[in-house]
Amino acid sequence: MKQKLVVVGNGMAGMRTVEELLKIASDKYDITVFGSEPHGNYNRIMLSPLLSGEKSLNDIMINDLEWYSTNNITLHAGYEKRVVKVDRRSKVVYAADGTEAVYDRLLLATGSNPFIIPVPGKDLGGVIAFRDISDVDTMLSAAKSKQHAIVIGGGLLGLEAANGLLKQGMDVTVVHNLEVLMNRQLDTVSAQYLQKALEERGMKFRMSANTSCLEGDEHGQVKSIKFDTGETLPADIVVMAAGIRPNTELAQTIGLYCERGIVVNDTLQTYDPCIYAVGECVQHRGELFGLVAPIWDQAKVCANHLAGFGIGIYKQKDVSTKLKVTGIDLFSAGNFLGDNDSEQIVFQDPSRGIYKKLVLKDDRIIGSVLYGDTVEGSWYFNLMREKTSVADFRDALIFGQHFVGDAGHQGQNAIVDMPDDAEVCGCNGICKGDIVKAITENKLFTLDDVRSATKASASCGSCSGLVEQILTATVGGNYSESPSEKPMCACTKYSHDSVRASITENGLKSFHEVAAFLEWDSGDGCHVCRPAINYYLVCAWPTEKVDDPRSRFINERVHANIQKDNTYSVIPRMWGGVTTPSELRAIADAADKYHVPCVKVTGGQRIDLLGVKKEDLPHIWKDLNNAGMVSGHAYGKALRTVKTCVGSEYCRFGTQDSTGMGIKLEKMTWGSWTPAKVKMAVSGCPRNCAEATIKDFGVVAVDSGWELYVAGNGGIKVRACDYLCKVTTEEEVLEYAGAFMQMYREQGRHNERSAPWVERVGLSYIKSEIVENPEQRKAFHARFLESQKYAQVDPWAERASHEVEKQEFIPLTQVG
């Protein structure tokens, strides 16, 4: 027998909860929904574009009436269906027209009411709020025949309403009681920029103005607004947009404990355990909510508890607001005003209309406001979320990521100016227009949604910032994103770092132990979390057999690189890029014997045999093994190559034996598994022919010793290395290299190369651990060598002998 769930409130929070619930327990409840508006569930954030005429009602529907019937949900919609009473003892809900519904669980999602300023005349005709579709209809019909509009409230909502009315051809004045527009998001300077831009579009303002009354005509219609200064302005319509208040009316009537909102605990339960509440009507740990992201989180947690799984608690997170007010780019996050203990970095360019402010405390970003150029918003927010020290690049911070060693994305930074056919995602060929279309048609709200729907930014990720901006611009209004802790994947709410900490703290030894301990949403994870956790296990327990081939990506499972035609490539190791005639002969023989269609020299100074059939792999490996060669790990998140130049042995400029140094480094580090691929290089003089300064670990010989560089890469975003330090002996080079490798292995996140890792944690931190703290360095190095004892086994030899993973390379059988 199904239980009964009744939802009061047919808005975004309530229906999101129902959607989440249907995803995980579609058969548990008979669901009945009461809504006081005669529509399905629509996207309230999109009321502004509806008003300005950029969107139609259809465009902003999230769940149309058909959705309710497809999902067997009974919908009672309309003003007469508003819920007026709940009998908590017999668990029955009553609507105004007498409709009843019995519940086992009740969900309150009553949203909020506009705050109507208590001035004389507030009840006159033509005085409205900006809250629902009927308000928009009133405004649209007023715009047809009337002229003067007053908007009370210079916050986000008020400015959006004002902009819409302006676009409908009205004469609009915004009345704000403070000197600063959007004071919840902007500081004085950025607010002035905004006001100036809006004035240029024809919007008028009365700042620091207090309304004393609204005056009506003989029909009870508003005709003017009067301020306490005595000034009077004509007003055919007055829109109150001075904020919202949680709608707790029903909750209070039925005796639920309320303060400013309906008080809920971490599982979104009210003081009546059968009654849950989500969205703008709730108060959680003293806070109220008005943005989408936190409400989506609430919906997820609430659905989980309604489904009876009892997993997860709601945790408040940092929120950034990226605003798109009338074609003006704004971004604000955190403590953007600062205080006595903080410092500010400010950039101002009035003619370009650009203003950027970062608020710093102890070299960490705690808040920011960007106006006019918001492309760096997500980067700053990331630095803020990760609490990254910016000490090392404070000088360039305000200019953006480009200036701290990131080549960026074709220099594109203003998506507003991009035509629809401009390619945003170069990996998957996705244009701006495709993304906008997917967002509107599929009602997407998050970067992850956009990624799975369009594949934009799903491959290399370098265009994530642009895609996020397009999302902001398209979803508009109070789109907000970025929980303080990014979950590893859709299977869990835990981040990489917390999963990893839990593995070591609790001695977890397999994926299934981790998934059980951390209450994974899915039984055996997905292609994102399984390989990540497998790596963390391998790194945490080097001496134990924790590696699970089934959690390895194919390349690491069969120790060869899968190609587009499902053949593989084979690259034997060439220590330091040095080979011999007999090795070359063996490679040539193998290429002939197995009909290798393509033989190519790689960028890492070795030879690639491309187009090998899977069943031939163990045989070709055996032949190469017999000639003394081992796997080059060209397929793995592992040490790839150590590129060298010829050095002092032959080169007339060489200062040290770079080739010999490279071979020693490669002999020490080969076989180790790392969060992402690791490349090294050693150059014999500052001419740097081995290009050592764009490697994860680079060594440049100078006359007096060796300069060490870290965290560079070519690839998606070219990043030159940071200089770590200078050492004198080869032994020191090895010790620093091993220590750096181990620190990266232990602290880098799966799939995070050393460059973003170092940018995230800060070069100073790396230096403090590896350069300034010899004991720590020696400990890292020792741990690295210990784990290498178990890691340096040639995977090719293991498989060529047919003892390991034998079944992997032969078909099960042949039929038909």
Binding site: H527, P549, R550, I554, V558, I562, K564, L812, V815
Partner: protein, 109 residues
Amino acid sequence: MTQWIDIGQLEDIPRLGSRVVESVHGDIAIFRTKEDKVFALRDKCPHKGGALSQGIVHGERVTCPLHNWVISLLDGEAQGFDSGCTPAYPVKLENNRVYLSLEQERKTG
């Protein structure tokens, strides 16, 4: 009458893994889930022909090794926003032996 072909025993296929059966229809990937259910799909991702047998198996789905499309083992349908379908074949487990039928369950959609 369905013609069942004995293709081996359950243990021949690694748990959360796959083995390939070569057939006149081309390669067929036989999957084994954590719960020891077996499934058979044509070893060709509907996207760009990646060998699904080489992917990571999770739940009753497999992720293609080439571009991470997620394919349902039940019916070969691409999951999420991707659309495409690879043929699924009837397969059954009896007394620990795996039987396959070459009658295609579905045509490519």
